[in-house]
Structures are given as structure tokens and as C-alpha cells.
């Protein structure tokens, strides 16, 4: 109906972030700062509605191509939206809407809130930009906006941990960005184009079976760059620090948003840009190493947010494992896990934030016995923990089970066994966390701790309900991800839709 919905989904949050400083100057003068916060929430919800508006068109099998400045690809930039984009856009904008509602109370006591909300909107706009774009260099530009706003948000609390984490994140992240830029410039020097569909078409002429050495180098540069951004194991050092130092609301958005976007970009490069399914073995090995190391590191953590960050690393391993199996069931399971991971990771980080908001610490040694004070948070955290460890009837079970079956069918029994063991480890460290936070002896000073406020409970409850619904009705989840699966395996359809039969 609205023709311009794809671009508006990016421009509206962008314009919101440009307007937020002006609005906050006005609202500060009249002492009505709530209006600014509500304005931000309204902008995020409009973005979500625009994504929902595009949903039926894309799910019926069409690919929306929006040509910026009416230039024909490959000369201009275009936005190309297929089933894969829309799934990621839905996850990102949905989680961002919940996070912005959650921030209303959670961030209330901080200073510099206008900067916080501006950066939050910029993060949302850039994630939408990365997700929806069909141009390779444009993807890099928006990825950098995402990274710079993430660096700034990590340093938001300005205590020692966040400054150190931000410096570390920034140095490693800039190195990754440089590698991506080098990969893009090699691609341009090889095929002379920047449009993803056009590059894909030209690479398919060069031939990817076997991959020529120069394409292997390009692929290695791009993969290393994006692996740094999603914290695959050899490059994961920045992530726990960053997630621990960032405010929990932002950490929830990072875990559910930027990680999802990073995985999406990797899938887009492997399946659409290069069209190489032969990378399965690499993905399986990387995925299982990430999975095991993340879970082992999570076992020894004494800080709740750090523990959740390591478990996030380990869950990304599952996604890559599922996609790496290469069978239809495996890819669907991986994508389903991508959706589920966003849901319960956001839930768990929000619970950690609720605890931090009321108690002021996330250190497992200091916490204890909070289930009497915060029964709702305790229940929601338990739901999230059981979902992430793959216990039926929650959504984690549905996607992990799909991945196990796919692994056995693909004849990769060893990796399937590894995945099951890691799942047990996940349950172990999360039960340890639940025990340390909610059960056991309650320190004297926590006796007057109250339940988290309602605006924080609501987004958490919404996510917990989603966990249960997708767990009880796994076919619903598979229905949501099957357009993404179809898009991922339909390289020719993508090229044809974007280039219009050239």
C-alpha cells in the first residue's frame, strides 16, 4: 500500500534521532522530559508497524526492490527485501520497541538521556539500514554507523569498566571494519560493481566450483571482518566486557539485534553473494568451536551479564552449526534458532537489568534469595533459562531439536553429540545462576528490595509468552522462518528481481 515503506522504515528512526536533540532542548526548558521519551517510543513503534506492513507482500513470495533516486541497479543504490531480510527486520524492530519501552524506567536515574535516546534510535536506524539494503558498500556504511553508536553506548555509564570495554571493542571493531573494506575493494577491483545482485551474477560467471584463490581471499577477509563483529571464538575477547559494561537495555538490544544482523550479513554473503554451499564444513567447525568455548567460559563466570554474554557467544555457534549442515531442515533449524535466540537473550538481559535496577549489582557472589522479593522476575528468568538450555516445552527445545535431527540426517553425529553436551552445560551454568540469584541465603541488605516496575515487567512478560508460544507450537515458528529459508536458497530469484532480467 505505502510504496515507500522500505525507505521509511530506515528514514523515520533516522529523522527521529536528528529531531531528538532539538525536542530535548525544548522539553528541558519546559521540564516535561517524559515527552521526549514517549516520542522515541512512538518512533520505534512506527518503524515496527512499517515492517509489519511489508510482511504480507514479502511472505507471499515477492521481493520488494526500492530504487533510491530512481536509479536502475547496478548504478544506483537499491533496497532489496526478501524473506531473509524481513525476518531480521522484524526481530530487530520488535526487540527495539520492547527495549525502548523497557528503557523508560530502567534509564530513569542516568544523566545525558537525550544522548542515550539519540544513540538508541541511530542504532535502530542503522540496523534497519544494514538489513534492508541491497548494495554492498552501503551495507558497510550502515554497519559502521551501527558500530560507532554501539561503541558510544558501551561507554555510556562512563565508569572504568565501560571506558576500557569501549576502547577494546573499538580497536578490535575498527580492525574488523578495515578488513571488510579491504574485501569490498578487492571485490570491486575484480568484478567492477557494488550491487549485491550484480556481484553475485558476475561471480557466478567466474564460477565458484572450485573457488579461485582470489575469491577465497575475499571471502576470508569478509568472513574475518564479520566474525569479529559477531564475536566468533578467536575474536570474542571484546564481547563479554562490552556486554557487561553496557546498560542492560542496550545489552539486550546488542545480543538480540546486532548479533542477529551480523549473522544475517554472513548468511547473505555466503549464500547470495558467493552462492557457495560448499562452506558448510567451515561453518560447522567454527560453529562448534564457538559453541564449546562459549559454554565452557560461561561456566566459570561470577558476573551475571558476563555469563549471559558468553552464553550468547555459544548460542551463535548453534545457529552456524544448523546452517552449516546445509540440509533444508538444518538451515530452517538455524534460522529458527536465530529467531529464538533473539527472544530469550533479550529476555534474560532484561531480567539481569531488572535485578541490577533494584539491587545495584550483578555479581553472583553477592546476590541471593531474591525469589521472595522479585517473584515475577524470578519466574521470567527461569523461563528464559529453560528456553535457552533447550528444555521442552520452550522455544529453545524446538529449534535445537530441529538442529539435532538435521545433524543426524546429514551424518554429522559427532557434532550433534557435541551440541547436546553443550546444551547440558548451558542448563548447568544457568541453574547455577538461578541458584545464586534467587535461591539460597538472602543477605540482610536485600530485605526491602521490591519487584521491578511495571513498564519493565511488561516487555519481559511479552518475550516470555513468545518463548512459550513458539515452544508449544513449533510449526508456527517454522512457518515464520520458511520464507527466509526460501529466500536463502533462491539466489537466481534474487538476482532476477533486483536486476530486472538484465
Amino acid at each position: 500500500m505505502i510504496e515507500a515503506a522500505p525507505i521509511l522504515a530506515i528514514i523515520i528512526p533516522l529523522m527521529g534521532s536528528f529531531l531528538t536533540p532539538l525536542i530535548s532542548i525544548l522539553t528541558k526548558r519546559y521540564k516535561k522530559e517524559r515527552i521526549r521519551d514517549l516520542f522515541v517510543v512512538a518512533i520505534v513503534i512506527v518503524t515496527l508497524l512499517l515492517v509489519l506492513h511489508m510482511l504480507p507482500t514479502v511472505w507471499s513470495g515477492n521481493i520488494i526492490v526500492y530504487r533510491l533516486g530512481n536509479w536502475t541497479p547496478p548504478w544506483g543504490i537499491c533496497l532489496a527485501i526478501d524473506g531473509l531480510n524481513i525476518l531480521v527486520a522484524l526481530i530487530v524492530s520488535g526487540i527495539a520497541a520492547l527495549v525502548s519501552i523497557y528503557s523508560l524506567m530502567y534509564m530513569k536515574n542516568d544523566t545525558g538521556l537525550e544522548k542515550y535516546y539519540t544513540l538508541l534510535l541511530l542504532l535502530l536506524a542503522s540496523m534497519m539500514g544494514v538489513t534492508l539494503t541491497g548494495d554492498f558498500f552501503n551495507l558497510f556504511v550502515f554497519f559502521e554507523i551501527m558500530s560507532v553508536s554501539a561503541y558510544a553506548l558501551v561507554a555510556f555509564r562512563r565508569n572504568w569498566d565501560s571506558i576500557e570495554a569501549s576502547i577494546k571493542y573499538m580497536v578490535i571493531g575498527s580492525l574488523g571494519a578495515s578488513l571488510v573494506l579491504l574485501g569490498i575493494s578487492f571485490t570491486y577491483s575484480l568484478v567492477g560493481s557494488l550491487n549485491i545482485a550484480d556481484i553475485a551474477q558476475k561471480i557466478s560467471i567466474i564460477g565458484t566450483n572450485p573457488l579461485p584463490p582470489v575469491l577465497i581471499l575475499i571471502l576470508a577477509l569478509l568472513m574475518t571482518g564479520f566474525c569479529i563483529k559477531i564475536a566468533m571464538v578467536p575474536f570474542h575477547a571484546w564481547m563479554p566486557d562490552a556486554y557487561q559494561a553496557a546498560p542492560s537495555a542496550v545489552a539486550a538490544l546488542f545480543a538480540a539485534g546486532t548479533t542477529t544482523v551480523g549473522v544475517y550479513v554472513m548468511l547473505r554473503i555466503i549464500y547470495i553473494l558467493f552462492g557457495v554451499a560448499a562452506l558448510g564444513v567451515m561453518l560447522i567447525v567454527l560453529g562448534s568451536v564457538t559453541m564449546v568455548v562459549g559454554a565452557l567460559m560461561a561456566l566459570v563466570q561470577r558476573d551475571l551479564k558476563r555469563l549471559l554474554a558468553y552464553s550468547g557467544i555459544s548460542q551463535v555457534g548453534y545457529i552456524l552449526l544448523g546452517v552449516g549442515f546445509g540440509t533444508a531442515l538444518g538451515i530452517e533449524g538455524g534460522l529458527f534458532h536465530l529467531l529464538n535466540n533473539a527472544i530469550y537473550k533479550a529476555l534474560l538481559f532484561m531480567c539481569a537489568g531488572a535485578i541490577f535496577y533494584r539491587v545495584g549489582t550483578c555479581n553472583l557472589d553477592e546476590l541471593g534469595g531474591l525469589s521472595k522479593n522479585m517473584p515475577i522476575t524470578a519466574g521470567l528468568f527461569t523461563i528464559g533459562a529453560l528456553a535457552i538450555s533447550g528444555v521442552p516445552p520452550f522455544n529453545g527445545f524446538a529449534s535445537k531439536w530441529t538442529i539435532y535431527i538435521a545433524g543426524i540426517q546429514a551424518g554429522k553425529a559427532f557434532f550433534t553429540l557435541l551440541a547436546i553436551i553443550v546444551s547440558v552445560l548451558t542448563l548447568a551454568y544457568l541453574l547455577k545462576a538461578i541458584n545464586a540469584i534467587f535461591l539460597g541465603q538472602r543477605p540482610k541488605r536485600f530485605e526491602n528490595v521490591k519487584e521491578a516496575p511495571m513498564t519493565m515487567i511488561f516487555p519481559m512478560m511479552f518475550l516470555a509468552v513468545l518463548c512459550i508460544v513458539l515452544g508449544v507450537l513449533p510449526s508456527l515458528g517454522i512457518d515464520i522462518v520458511s520464507p527466509a529459508y526460501n529466500a536463502l536458497t533462491n539466489q537466481h530469484g534474487y538476482i532476477r528481481a533486483v536486476l530486472g532480467g538484465i
Binding site: A4, I7, I11, L14, M15, F18, L19, P21, L22, I25, Y66, R67, L68, G69, N70
Partner: protein, 144 residues
Amino acid sequence: MAGMTLIVKTASRLLSPFVLLFGIYIVLHGHLTPGGGFPGGVIIVAAIVMLLLGYGAEAAKAKFSPLQASVSENIGSLILVATGLLGLFLGFNFMKNAIPLGTTGNLYSAGIIIPLNIGVGIKVAAGLAVILYAMLTAFEEEEK
């Protein structure tokens, strides 16, 4: 930060208007000669830096206050988005060059490139000024 010696003060007072003018020239001729909004904005902010170094932070802030800087940065960004949305309102796609193009080589030519360059010029000058003032506060506290 206090000012510098008389030589620096005189030189910066004499030079900074010309630097400012040159920056504006670069912004306006972005579609004809090398340059454009970004380099032009940086040259404009160089004029402010000259004042700041010569006469101290207070004098520079009196000319171009931090609040003015951050407001004009937002206005510059909004000019960009509004110019992009113009194409949408005229019935084309976002960022369409929809207003009449002049003759190639004239000052008025190339359609929306002129307002975009002006917007980005304002934005870059104001944005770098904000960064400069923000970094200065770190040292001002130290001096107190």
C-alpha cells in the same frame, strides 16, 4: 584556555574571515570543482579553531556557542533528510534529483546537489565544533 601572543592574535583575526569565506566558496562550488560539503565544512571549522587558539575558548564560544553549534548540526541533518524526502513528495523515490537542473558548468546546476552540499557543510562545521568544545571541557576542568 587563555589566548596566545599578539602575533598569533593579529594573524588569526586577519586570516579567519578569509578562511571562512574560502570554506563557504568550497561548499557552494562542490558540483563544479573538487571539494563539496565535507571539505568545506572542515575549512569553516578551521576559522573557528583559529579564533579559539588565538583568543581562547571564551572568545570562540562568544562567536559560536556550543548550543548554537548543536542546534545547527541538527538543522543541517534535517536539511539533508528533507531534501531527500522532497523527491518522495514530488512523486518519485527517496533522494530523486527532482528539481530543475540548470546548465552544466553554471553555479546553479545539478539540482538537489546544491542544497545537499549546503546542508552537509553546515552539519560538518557545526558537528566538528561540538566535538572541539566537548574535548575542551576535559581540559577546562583540569585548569580549575
